[in-house]
Structures are given as structure tokens and as C-alpha cells.
């Protein structure tokens, strides 16, 4: 196909052609970045939690009046919960993954450091790892005789009494790898704050934080041997049993002590979907914008194509009368669109890169992977070709006799 005559024609429609190119470029740039943002959001929504997601039930109760026997009552509650048919593990915990409310602490590798090495979240609760279904990778889980009561630990911490503070910790693989890259973490020491030394006795595959302000730190987690008595319970059961177990658990606890209120109850999958609802909404919105952009651009190409075809009916007739086949005419318009799209895509790539740079600065987004450029290009070429097909077919249908008539 000879492209020189096409270029010559386009030169006579400079402004219109430029506008079409600009539109394709903008669409290409926005769609590339939007699709990238969508994949980022979807990836984030898939964030591993490290817990047995489909087997957990979360339940939180709060007292109406003041109680001074929380420990005895917690023991009683746990015994009641264990008796519910289908419940395999229970635990009283201080926080739950994706639960938004969290205990965090700075840790150091050397107590003399002036700045913390990093910030990790601290999970408390006897039998917590078993109830969550956290998987042990090396070392051991915390044992019953490692555990201490929360109030005793607080008093010991205030008094600086190391003997009555926890001395062991289980951490996640991600945290171990961050602190001691390539080495075994077992037996290594970390310091909570500046003065509480903790020996790593176990490493688990993962356990996500309750609230995440930096995705890179989502798995910086430690499990400490501290018993808590806050009425915050985790139950593990078979996936199909969860609704029944949740109902039975609430009934049993309210029966044993009616002077309290259920303030949270979840099948754990709902917590994940709640936690990422903003990401999901944004992804849906971006998909909508991409579709709308592509539709508007495609319709623009159809509209402009139709105009050009109508405008050139006479020339087309002349070409046909001079021996051009229908296929020649069809290819002419297809090639014209391909040329415009190519220039637009080229410009769009540069623009896409620019927008990505802007987003990287303002939204801590990674660089746009190179794969998006060819994929975006192919998508726009395809859309251009599909959109121009209608007008081009109409052009090809112009009979040669038009050449002999005045418009």
C-alpha cells in the first residue's frame, strides 16, 4: 500500500488529523496508566494474610458495667466456646488481621541504637497462632509456660523488671528476612523499644498487620507470649459451619453473662472484603473510565471517518472509475487510520510515561512496566481498525458512476 498519497491527503486536513491524533494519544496515555493502577489495586486486594481465611470467626464483646474478674470470665468464655460443636480452636486476642485497630512497637537489633530499626505489630493471646491457623516454618510455636498475663507484663514494664517480661517471640518470615537477610532467625535477639530483649524461637510463614500504612511493612509482625482478657475472641471451624458457630457462640456468651454487648461479629472473609473496599471501588471506577474513554474515542473515529468518506465520495468514485478495486478503497481508509493511530500511540507512550512519573511522585506508585506500552499500542490499533471498518466499507461501496455526477 502506498502511503504517500494518504499523507498528501492528510496534509489537507491537518487540523482535524491532529485532533484525532491528540485524542488517540490522550486515550492511550490515560488507559495505560489506569490499567496499571487497576492491576496494582487487584494485586493489593490479593495481599496474603497468613491465616486460615475461610475457617475463622471473629467475635468481640464489651461489658456494660465495670468488671474486676476479667481473667476468670475469659477462661470461662473460652471453655464455653470450645464446647460448641465444630469449633477446633479458640483464642482470646488483642487484635485481628485487617481489623484496623492495632498495637505496634519500634524494635532495635542493638539497644544502643538511637533510632528504631523498624516498626512491627505485636499480637498477643494464648493459642493465637493455632486459632488463626498460622503456619510454622522453623523453630517452635509459643508454649503455655512461655505466657504471662497482660496486667503483670505492664507492671513489670513500668518497673523495668525484665524477669517478669516475655523473653521469647515468634516472628514472620518477612520480618526475619528483613532483619537478618539470608540467615536463620532462630536464636537471634531483638529489642522491643530499647530495653526488652526477645529471643526468636519460631518463624511463621506470614501474619498480616491489622492496619497497613505501608504495604512493604504489611508482614512485619511478632507474636508475643502475653495473655489478654479483652473479650476479643477468634474461633476456628470448618468453612460451612461458620454461620452456625457464630450464632451459637453469641448465644452461649450472652447466656453466661447478659451484662455485655456484642460490638463486632464477623465471618473472617468479610473483614478482608471490608478492608479493601476502597481499593475495589477504585478499581471498578478505573475500569469504567477506561471503557468510557475507549468508547468515546472509537465513536470519534467512526464519526470523523464517516465525514471524510462523505466528503470524498467524488474522489472515491473517480478512483474507482480509474480502475481502483473495492479492496483498494477499503485498504486506503484502513491504512489512513493505522497511520493516524500509530502517530497517536507514539505520542501517547511519551505522555503515558510522563503521567506515570507524576503519579510516582505523588502516589508512591512503581514505574510503569514496559509491557504496558506494546499492549496499549495493540489495543488502540485494534480499536481504531474496528471503528474505521464501518466508514471504510461504506467508502468501498461507492460506485464508480459517482464520478460522473455532480455532488
Amino acid at each position: 500500500m502506498d502511503i504517500l498519497p494518504i499523507l498528501a491527503t492528510l496534509r489537507r486536513h491537518k487540523v482535524t488529523a491532529t485532533l484525532l491524533i491528540l485524542q488517540i494519544a490522550l486515550t492511550c496515555a490515560i488507559v495505560c496508566n489506569a490499567v496499571f493502577l487497576i492491576t496494582q489495586r487487584l494485586h493489593r486486594m490479593d495481599m496474603p494474610s497468613g491465616v486460615a481465611e475461610h475457617e475463622l470467626v471473629h467475635l468481640r464483646l464489651a461489658d456494660i458495667g465495670r468488671r474486676d474478674d476479667e481473667k476468670a470470665r475469659t477462661a470461662e468464655d473460652l471453655a464455653l466456646l470450645r464446647q460448641i460443636p465444630g469449633v477446633t480452636e479458640v483464642a482470646s486476642v488483642n487484635q485481628v488481621p485487617f481489623g484496623n485497630s492495632s498495637n505496634n512497637s519500634g524494635i532495635k537489633l542493638d539497644p544502643k541504637q538511637s533510632q528504631s530499626t523498624l516498626n512491627m505489630t505485636t499480637y498477643f493471646g494464648e493459642n493465637l497462632a493455632q486459632a488463626f491457623g498460622v503456619q510454622l516454618v522453623s523453630g517452635r510455636m509459643l508454649q503455655p509456660d512461655d505466657y504471662m498475663d497482660f496486667d503483670a507484663v505492664v507492671h513489670a514494664a513500668q518497673a523495668g523488671d525484665l524477669k517478669h517480661l516475655p523473653s521469647v517471640i515468634v516472628i514472620t518470615q518477612a520480618l526475619a528476612e528483613r532483619l537478618w537477610p539470608g540467615q536463620s532467625a532462630l536464636g537471634k535477639q531483638i529489642y522491643l523499644g530499647s530495653e526488652v530483649p526477645l529471643r526468636v524461637v519460631g518463624v511463621v510463614r506470614g501474619l498480616v498487620r491489622p492496619s497497613i500504612w505501608d504495604d512493604a511493612m504489611a508482614q512485619y509482625t511478632g507474636i508475643l507470649p502475653v495473655r489478654v482478657f479483652d473479650g476479643n475472641y477468634i474461633l476456628r471451624t470448618a468453612p460451612g459451619e461458620r454461620d452456625r458457630v457464630l450464632k451459637a457462640a453469641i448465644a452461649a456468651l450472652k447466656k453466661s453473662d447478659p451484662h455485655r454487648v456484642v460490638i463486632a461479629q464477623h465471618i473472617w472473609d468479610d473483614m478482608r472484603s471490608d478492608f479493601f473496599r476502597q481499593d475495589r471501588a477504585m478499581a471498578v471506577l478505573l475500569v469504567g473510565v477506561c471503557i468510557a474513554l475507549l468508547v468515546v474515542t472509537a465513536l470519534g473515529i467512526v464519526g470523523l471517518g464517516s465525514f471524510w468518506v462523505a466528503q470524498r465520495r467524488r474522489q472515491i468514485g473517480v478512483r474507482r472509475a480509474l480502475g481502483a478495486t473495492r479492496a483498494n478503497i477499503l485498504h486506503y481508509f484502513q491504512t489512513e487510520n493505522f497511520l493516524l493511530a500509530t502517530i497517536g500511540i507514539g505520542l501517547g507512550m511519551v505522555l503515558a510515561y510522563g503521567i506515570n512519573l507524576f503519579l510516582m511522585q505523588h502516589y508512591e506508585l512503581p514505574r510503569l512496566p514496559a509491557i504496558y506500552f506494546p499492549v496499549g499500542a495493540v489495543a488502540l490499533w485494534l480499536i481504531g481498525q474496528v471503528a474505521v471498518l464501518g466508514p471504510a466499507l461504506r467508502a468501498a461501496a461507492v460506485p464508480p458512476v459517482v464520478a460522473t455526477r455532480s455532488v
Binding site: Q23, R66, N103, S114, D151, R277, A281, T297, L304
Partner: protein, 434 residues
């Protein structure tokens, strides 16, 4: 003349219905998307107390130990109990209030209502006057009530409706955590956005349902919410919050002019020095005194996604406009013959230009109307999203006017280039080719 142009424009638009529809649709889509996102942004970045926000300030002190000290680092975002109480008692501002959030178990007197937890704000006497909270019934408490740890409560209209059927409940008893409180005030409709006085408990949620004196909260050991940052041997022990080396309270002060603000800042520096000399503070004085709007800005309270959506929508509008310019240009140029005849019959370039501009204005107006409809639909969709700010997404008169100006302005702008190009056509050439 205008009417004639309008008639010509409508005829021309009718002649090619699909194309007109496409242009109107593109403009409407772009305007609708931009207005939806712009309205959400406008609502979220608004002033929570118009008129008074310039006199409200959020002092910050740095009471931490030397562990982790870096010169120039921001002081903590909240204050300790000791510092909060010292600043409160110093009375250096026109008004001041110390506060934190929490949740309280409410035990309704009616037997058909189960006990429930309500969000609460524990604060001091000046809170209501300083933040201009409107009272439906009764009034707030005074400093003497604060000192006496009085069992008094101010509740919102929502809680009043639920517990007292909307009647004037002042003087009635409200049972909270097995303790009898006397209702002394009911707030009218009040929803400052953002929830500026405590950003820890959600930036755009409504106000808490119950307001209780801060001293009473500690006396009864009610439950607190929000963030707490500790250093040294401070810990989350609820029994020693008054002495803990933890920041967990918000302190606000009203200062009526710049000289008062400057004096207050100096007071904060002096206070830090004094505490340093007493051995309580270890770091050199490191204070901030941000005004309300500066504080919101510093905390980046508008979600970054909302900003991103605005950029995205305007990018989309740009594409829609380029699309419309292209189509309009093609359309006008195709009518070069007709325009040539008009020119030859004596219409000046200006007349032709005006005629074409009216045509593009009609498209803009139609697109604006469509865009308004789409924006209302978009805002309706936003209101059904599960976010704190969902119910705030409503079009106000300012945004309504902005939508319209944006729509007509944008499409006139889009019409300028095609109209100008079309009236450049030499009449003779066009007539000849006929």
C-alpha cells in the same frame, strides 16, 4: 439575529442526529465525570467551621525522651495528660479544650431497647462554645462541672430521638456503664466536615453521640478509642493514663488574632523550656501552632484516591472535548459550501463565526444538561459507596453553577477553533467548486 442563528443551529444539528447525539453524549460524559469528582473533592476539602476556623489552633509539644531524637522532626500529633491539663489551666487562649474519643455502653430506660455502645467524646467545658456547636435544648457544662467530675452529658439529636423520642430531655437521667448521668444539653444538627478535632477516629464520620466531661471519663474508667503513642516505659495501662509517658489527647485553643497566636506560640516555647528545666522534657523546645486549615492540610485529610479521581475525570473531559472539537471541525468544514454562499450573499466573517459559535453553544448547553444529570447519577452512586464521606456527596448551588459554567465554557472553547477555521474559507473557491 440570535434567534435566526439559533434556528440555523437547530436545523443543522437535526440534519445529522447521530453526530449531534455523539457530540452531546461526549460532552455530557466528560462534564458528568468531572463534576462528580470535583463535588466530592469540594465537599471533602471544605472548611468545617466557616467563619471561625481561622481562630482555632492546634498546639503541638515534644515531650519525648532523647531516644530516636532527630533535630527538626515533627513533634507528636497529640499531647500527654499532664501537658494537656497544664495548657488547659494556663488559660492563655480565649477558649481551650482538651479531649479524646471513646465508646460508652448506654443502658436505655425502656425495656424494649437493648443496651448498646455509642461513640463518645470526653472533653472540657469550652468545647461547645469554641466549636460553635448549636444547642437544640439546654446547654453545655462549665468549668466547675469539670472540676467536680460531674455526671452530666450532652447528647446529639440522634441519640435524643432514640432514647427520649425527640422531646426536650434536659434534666432526664441517662444510664451509662451502670452510672446515672444527667442530660444537660441536646445538640442540634451539627456535622463539621472533616471531623477535624480528632482525625484519629475517621476523617469524615459524624460527631459522637454523647459528650461527657473528660475528668468524669477518667473517674469512671470509661473506654477510650483513638491512637496512643508511648515512649520510655509508658504502656497501654488504662489505670495510669494520667502519668503515662504517652500522647493520646487532642488540645485545641481559640486565639482571635495574629498577635495572640504569636504570643501563644512564645508561651509554648517558654512552657517547653520550663518543663525541660524541671526535667520532664528532655528535648529542646519543639513546638507547632497550626491553624485548623493548616492542621487538616498537614494531615492530608482528603483521601489521595479522591484527588486521583479528579485528575482522572479531567483527563477524561479533555479527551471528550478534543473528540467534540474534531467532530465539530469536520462538520463545519463539510458545510464550507453553504458558508461560502452565505459569505457571498453578504454575511461578514463575524456573522458566520457568531452563527457557528451559537451552534457549538447549543451543543454545550445540551451537554451541560446531560452532564448535570450524569453528575447527579454519579453522586448518587458515590452515596451508595461504603465510605465515611458517602452521605456528604451532594451537589450544592456553587457546584451546580460551576457545572453549568464549565459545560458551556468548555464547549464554546471547543467551538472556537472549528468556527474560526470554517470562517476562514474563501467564498469564491467554494462557489466555484459547486
Amino acid at each position: 439575529m440570535f434567534q435566526y442563528y439559533l434556528d440555523l443551529a437547530l436545523r443543522s444539528l437535526k440534519r445529522n442526529k447521530a453526530l449531534t447525539a455523539l457530540m452531546v453524549f461526549a460532552v455530557a460524559l466528560g462534564i458528568g465525570a468531572s463534576m462528580t469528582t470535583l463535588t466530592v473533592f469540594h465537599v471533602l476539602s471544605g472548611d468545617p467551621i466557616p467563619g471561625a476556623s481561622g481562630t482555632l489552633f492546634y498546639p503541638q509539644l515534644d515531650p519525648q525522651d532523647m531516644d530516636g531524637y532527630q533535630p527538626g522532626k515533627e513533634p507528636p500529633a497529640q499531647v500527654t495528660w499532664i501537658d494537656g491539663m497544664n495548657l488547659l489551666r494556663a488559660h492563655r487562649g480565649v477558649r481551650q479544650a482538651l479531649m479524646t474519643g471513646g465508646a460508652v455502653p448506654v443502658q436505655p430506660a425502656q425495656s424494649d431497647l437493648d443496651p448498646f455502645f455509642s461513640d463518645a467524646r470526653y472533653t472540657t467545658a469550652d468545647f461547645f462554645a469554641m466549636f460553635q456547636a448549636p444547642f437544640l435544648y439546654g446547654h453545655g457544662w462549665n468549668a466547675a462541672d469539670d472540676d467536680a467530675k460531674a455526671r452530666v452529658a450532652v447528647i446529639t439529636r440522634k441519640l435524643n430521638d432514640k432514647l427520649f423520642g425527640g422531646k426536650d430531655s434536659t434534666g432526664q437521667t441517662l444510664r451509662i456503664k451502670d452510672t446515672a448521668f444527667r442530660v444537660i444539653g441536646v445538640l442540634g444538627d451539627w456535622r463539621p466536615n472533616p471531623h477535624f478535632y480528632d482525625l484519629n477516629t475517621g476523617g469524615y464520620r459524624g460527631v459522637e453521640d454523647a459528650f461527657l466531661p473528660l475528668t468524669t471519663f477518667r473517674d469512671l474508667r470509661l473506654d477510650r478509642n483513638g491512637s496512643m503513642d508511648c515512649w520510655g516505659r509508658g504502656g497501654g495501662d488504662e489505670d495510669h493514663l494520667e502519668t503515662a509517658t504517652c500522647v493520646w489527647l487532642q488540645f485545641w485553643v481559640q486565639l482571635d488574632d495574629a498577635s495572640q497566636a504569636a504570643a501563644y506560640k512564645q508561651f509554648l516555647v517558654n512552657y517547653s523550656r520550663e518543663q525541660h528545666d524541671l526535667g520532664r522534657f528532655q528535648r529542646p523546645p519543639n513546638v507547632r501552632l497550626r491553624s485548623l486549615m493548616q492542621w487538616l492540610d498537614y494531615n492530608k485529610v482528603v483521601p489521595s484516591d479522591v484527588r486521583l479521581q479528579v485528575y482522572l475525570a479531567f483527563g477524561f473531559l479533555l479527551v471528550c472535548l478534543v473528540n467534540t472539537v474534531g467532530l465539530m471541525l469536520a462538520k463545519f468544514m463539510r458545510r464550507a459550501g453553504e458558508l461560502g454562499v452565505r459569505r457571498a450573499l453578504g454575511a461578514s466573517r463575524r456573522n458566520v463565526f457568531a452563527q457557528l459559535l451559537v451552534e457549538s453553544g447549543v451543543i454545550g448547553l445540551a451537554g451541560g444538561l446531560g452532564g448535570l444529570g450524569l453528575a447527579l447519577l454519579g453522586l448518587w452512586a458515590v452515596r451508595h459507596q461504603p465510605s465515611d464521606y458517602a452521605e456528604l456527596a451532594r451537589l450544592d448551588p456553587t457546584m451546580l453553577l460551576t457545572t453549568f459554567l464549565l459545560a458551556v465554557g468548555a464547549s464554546l472553547l471547543a467551538g472556537l477553533l472549528p468556527a474560526w477555521r470554517a470562517c476562514q474559507v474563501a467564498p469564491a473557491l467554494q462557489l466555484k467548486s459547486q
